[in-house]
């Protein structure tokens, strides 16, 4: 109780001291960064997952060959979820005498639950988002379909036994499969018309689906509840399986944010540790005095703890305000990414952040407080009497535990966490060793320089361990700053380049071999380079290593599904530029031996396939056996046509083959597509523009978010620099007073101090550039799977920034020290 009173009494004044300001700033920054990043990761994750869900037009889809029993939709309603029904089946559509095969998509009122349908008022015209579905008696038809039957908006189409009016051109529906097999152009129809059409009857191949969407937790609960109950004929699909591309983008956005969060947090932790050390150090005199006046150890530690907790609370308050402000600003920047109702973060971030701040304080400040407790009272008479240093095990153990606890909570990605902590620890250790070596080298130079430099360099050498620690602190801060400024740009750039502006935005499918030439010519006549065509052969996998694909055991269900469904095969002499060989060998360009097959890595993993296995296919009445020769990784972001299974040249000769192609068509060139589908009615054109735009949008916004959060990191880095400089300020004040008392001019003393900082800054700069290069390489290659080039700029900037930033911080620290009146300082009565 006495301790609390005492702690409170002196607290107001303590608040004004420099180290407390740094400590508060560090805690506040950590909390602010955590709140903002946590908020962002959460929201971006949800927003992106939602965009990914568009591909299903729902959060969950129950698909069946028979009508989905109404009990499931009733159950979904009980969970507070929205539902919609869809049916899809192939059917021939007529306009007068002309006819074409179409995928009829029949939907109920609420469709789509996620994403939006887009239509145009004329073929290949301007598209717009619509809310709702076609009225009864009307349909929205794909432009290709209209071209094939020679109809236009306003015309009537015969669908089964009824005639329906085309009220718009359907340009995009969220669940149009982007797997471009067997896609007949689609027709969107109101479920109210289906009965009259007479299309549903015995033997019709209808795929029924119940779409479900709503609150994420409710969806999960619903999913769990029905999973074991559902009959085998009903298959559940959720977002993870539905869109590799959108999911990749979401994943990377989260990784970038996590990276930023980790770094802000680590830097804040370093700043907390350093300022806590000084906080404790500055209190040593007071503690010694209180002990000499009869205070017990418990009393002094209680006072320090109460003050620390109070600081923590203030830090949390500041941080929460900053965090909320950042949230507000960021959610404005990202408003349309977060479109739609998202749960209010409420008090949760504050509670989490307070907890985190306390963990941070305890982990990094407690060792210093424990040391404070052991301050010998003798210090009141002998100023050099110091408490024993806290045990290394305690310091390292506590801080690592705190970091692990915090990072795990905020990042939740164990692998990334380990790589980063590992990287940073290695750099710190390396920095320390090199720092010590450098300090030793610097000492040698001092006979050859002027008095100011000699004084500065002598200082660096004399402080030995402390100088090395400062080099580590500066170096670490700089490493992170470099990593975030230069490397972040490089990484984002690399990431953007994977989605270069030339990525195809249209796919042509179902091109017949005899059409290749005329289609190519049509494009060239319209000023578009003739596209590359990729062959496609539909097949069924029958055996794997002689065992039936039906009976075989698979590592997971995806593998079974992959092996049992109809497969799209292709062949090529040269591997696509969007592929990367992971294992095995690619066949020579002139290969004409027995069939070989190259498979995609996930397919190999899910189906439990490896090099040397043989796959048997049944194609158009013939059996083909191919040996797995290689495993590839596909860069899906390339939007190039890609295949899980690619065979060697000649293997599929004589098989019924169609061709597909991905190509970039500018908006003003789009009208040629009408000519294309009129001249080649069997070809389908799929517009990927909307999806591409979606993915680009995610990337752009995520990078804005990362940059915004980066502000926290930068501030935390500066807090570290300040804490490091501050930790030597008393000593500097005393030394400079002494030198001036000995007759040194203020300028000389000042130059000496600056020389010292310049040397430290240079050392830190060199080390940081090296560290950032290595870390960047690891992060780029290991985590983001992007190529990375070492950049000389890192070194130039690292060195310059090292000297510059350290000298500036040093200037502010040294200014006060150099200007103190020598007599006060030497008497120990200053302040």
């Amino acid at each position: 109780m006495k301790a609390v009173v005492f702690a409170l009494r002196s607290f107001g004044r303590e608040l004004r001291s420099g180290e407390v300001v740094v400590l508060l700033a560090a805690v506040g920054l950590a909390v602010g960064a955590l709140t903002a990043v946590g908020f962002l990761t959460d929201r971006i994750g949800k927003a992106v997952a939602r965009q990914a869900n568009e591909v299903l037009a729902a959060d969950l889809r129950l698909r069946s060959q028979e009508p989905v029993p109404s009990e499931w939709s009733e159950l979904a309603a009980e969970y507070g979820l929205d539902t919609a029904e869809t049916l899809a089946f192939p059917s021939v559509v007529f306009a007068g005498d002309a006819s074409a095969l179409s995928t009829i998509k029949v939907v109920s009122e609420q469709y789509p639950l996620r994403g939006a349908v887009r239509v145009a008022d004329q073929m290949f015209g301007e598209q717009r988002e619509v809310d709702g579905i076609p009225e009864p008696g009307e349909v929205w038809a794909d432009g290709t379909l209209l071209a094939r039957v020679g109809a236009d908006v306003g015309d009537m189409l015969s669908v089964g036994e009824i005639d329906l009016r085309v009220s718009a051109v359907l340009t995009y529906r969220p669940d149009q499969s982007i797997g471009f097999a067997s896609l007949a152009p689609s027709l969107l129809m109101n479920i109210g018309d289906i009965e009259r059409s007479g299309l549903i009857g015995e033997g019709s191949r209808v795929s029924y689906a119940l779409l479900v969407a709503g609150d994420a937790q409710a969806v999960t609960d619903f999913n769990d509840a029905i999973e074991s109950e559902l009959p085998d004929s009903v298959r559940i699909r959720s977002q993870e399986e539905s869109s590799e591309r959108a999911y990749n983008a979401a994943d990377r956005a989260q990784r970038f944010l996590s990276l930023t969060a980790i770094i802000s947090l680590l830097l804040s932790a370093v700043a907390v540790a350093m300022s806590a050390r000084r906080f404790a150090h500055k209190r040593m005199d007071t503690v010694a005095l209180m002990k000499s006046l009869g205070a017990t150890q418990r009393f002094v530690i209680a006072v320090a703890l109460v003050q620390l907790v109070l600081l923590g609370i203030i830090g949390v308050l500041i941080g929460s305000i900053v965090g909320y402000a950042a949230e507000e600003i960021l959610s404005r920047i990202l408003a349309d990414l977060f479109a739609g109702e998202l749960p209010n973060p409420g008090l949760r971030p504050v509670v989490l952040a307070s907890g985190s701040a306390m963990v941070l304080l305890l982990g990094f400040a407690l060792p210093s407080l424990i040391q404070l407790r052991n301050t010998p009272p003798l210090r009141v008479l002998r100023h050099d009497a110091m408490p024993p240093a806290p045990s290394r095990l305690l310091v390292v153990g506590l801080s690592l535990a705190a970091v692990a606890a915090l990072l795990y909570r905020s990042v939740g990605d164990a692998r990334m966490l380990l790589v980063l902590i590992g990287g940073i620890l290695v750099i710190a250790a390396a920095l320390y060793l090199v720092g010590r070596a450098l300090v030793a080298v610097i000492g040698r130079f001092r006979s050859g320089v002027g008095v100011a430099w000699r004084y500065g360099l002598a200082n660096v050498a004399r402080r030995g361990r402390d100088s090395a620690v400062q080099v580590v602190a500066f170096g670490l801060g700089l490493t992170v700053l470099l990593l975030l400024t230069l490397v972040r740009t490089d990484l984002l750039e690399g990431w953007r380049q994977t989605l270069d502006a030339d990525a195809p935005n249209h796919f042509l499918i179902n091109v017949q071999p005899h059409e290749l030439e005329s289609v190519g010519a049509l494009f060239e006549n319209n000023g578009i380079p003739a596209p590359d065509f990729t062959p496609l052969v539909r097949a069924r996998m029958t055996l794997i290593n002689g065992e039936s694909v039906k009976d075989r055991e698979y590592p997971n269900e995806d593998g079974r599904w992959l092996a049992n469904r109809e497969a799209n095969l292709s062949w090529t002499a040269e591997m696509s530029s969007s592929n990367e060989l992971l294992a095995g060998e690619w066949w020579p360009a002139d290969y004409d031996g027995p069939p070989l097959v190259s498979i995609e890595e996930d397919a190999a993993e899910n189906a439990g396939l490896s090099i040397g296995d043989t796959l048997s296919y049944f194609v158009a009445g013939r059996d083909i056996e191919a040996e797995i020769a290689s495993i590839r990784k596909i860069n899906w972001d390339s939007f190039q046509p890609n295949f899980f299974f690619v065979l060697s040249p000649g293997a599929l000769d004589g098989m019924p083959t169609t061709y597909i192609s991905g190509l970039k068509i500018e908006d003003e060139q789009k009208s040629m597509l009408i000519d294309l589908v009129r001249a080649h009615p069997s070809i389908s054109v799929i517009d990927l523009g909307a999806i591409l735009q979606q993915v680009r949008g995610i990337i752009e916004k995520a990078s804005v978010a990362v940059q915004a959060v980066f502000v926290f990191t930068l501030a935390a880095g500066i807090a570290v620099l300040f804490a490091a400089v501050q930790s030597t300020i008393d000593e500097r004040r005393f030394e400079s007073a002494m030198l001036r008392a000995l007759g040194a001019r203020r300028r000389t003393v000042f130059s000496g101090v600056m020389a010292e900082f310049a040397a430290l800054g240079m050392a830190a700069g060199i080390l940081a550039a090296a560290g950032a290069s290595i870390l960047a390489y690891v992060v780029a290659v290991q985590l983001f799977k992007l190529p990375y080039e070492f950049s000389p700029l890192l070194w130039v900037v690292g060195l310059t920034a090292g000297v510059f930033v350290v000298c500036i911080s040093g200037f502010f620290a040294a200014r006060g020290a150099v200007n103190s009146a020598p007599v006060d300082v030497l008497r120990g009565t200053a302040g």
């Binding site: 009494r9 002196s10 004044r13 002990k291 006046l293 009141v380 008497r827 009565t829 302040g831």
Partner: protein, 235 residues
């Protein structure tokens, strides 16, 4: 319990005190074979050249540090028998300090500094008692000032007020005028002697100043860690 020893009212007793510290050049003897007894209410000056071991002796007598040889009995308690908190308890009850460089807590104002030992000793009305003593040292109108706002002499007055506030059995002063000009120093010493007379406090004063030493009842003279002379002065 107070140990009633042979000589009545002995408040402080040094028994064959020795202090050795280890240094890079081997062990160093700072103090050896120092013994004396100090009667309650006495004023004792410890004199000797710089480095003689005066401060070290003071630290041992007050239980700020432990001797490597011998022991100290303060107010009837053998300090070597106590742990650090135990010795702190003894100081809270029976010791006051005045230091060369004042040692006020910079974040507390003058009054709060004076209240500190009172509160540590569990005094019931610390504020009132502190106000009274701060009045006595002539700083009644400046009690709310912080150390940074006070001159050296004023700081030392606050320190003296703090030292006498809890009415300690023994007051230790280590060169209390060392950081003050001679006029201010003389005023400060006047104040100290006055308070010493008006209370029953025993004063142990480390000083260079022979004039000051002569105003004490007794002078212990230390050189190279040994007691050279122990003379009763006629006061």
């Amino acid at each position: 319990m107070r140990n009633q020893s042979a000589v009545n009212d002995v408040v402080l007793e040094a028994h064959e005190l020795g202090k050795e510290v280890s240094s890079p050049e081997g062990s160093l003897t700072i103090l050896s074979g120092v013994s004396f007894r100090i009667a309650a209410g006495a004023s004792v000056a410890v004199v000797g050249p710089s480095g003689a071991g005066k401060s070290t002796l003071l630290a041992l007598l007050a239980g700020l540090d432990l001797p490597t040889r011998g022991h100290v009995v303060l107010n009837g308690v053998n300090l070597s028998d106590l742990d650090e908190d135990g010795r702190a308890g003894v100081r809270a009850d029976s010791v006051g300090f005045v230091f060369q460089s004042f040692h006020l807590v910079p974040s507390l104002n003058a009054l709060e500094n004076v209240m500190l030992p009172l509160e540590l000793a569990g005094h019931k009305d610390a504020r009132k008692a502190a106000r009274e003593i701060i009045e006595k040292v002539g700083l009644g109108d400046r009690w709310s000032h912080f150390p940074a706002q006070l001159s050296g002499g004023e700081k030392q007055r606050v320190a003296i007020a703090r030292a006498f506030a809890a009415e300690p059995a023994v007051l230790f002063a280590d060169e209390p005028t060392g950081n003050l000009d001679s006029r201010t120093g003389a005023n400060i010493m006047e104040l100290m002697f006055e308070l010493n007379r008006s209370s029953s406090t025993t004063l142990v004063l480390v000083t260079h100043d022979n004039g000051l030493a002569e105003r004490c009842n007794r002078i212990l003279s230390l050189d190279a860690g040994r007691l050279q002379s122990d003379s009763e002065a006629a006061a």
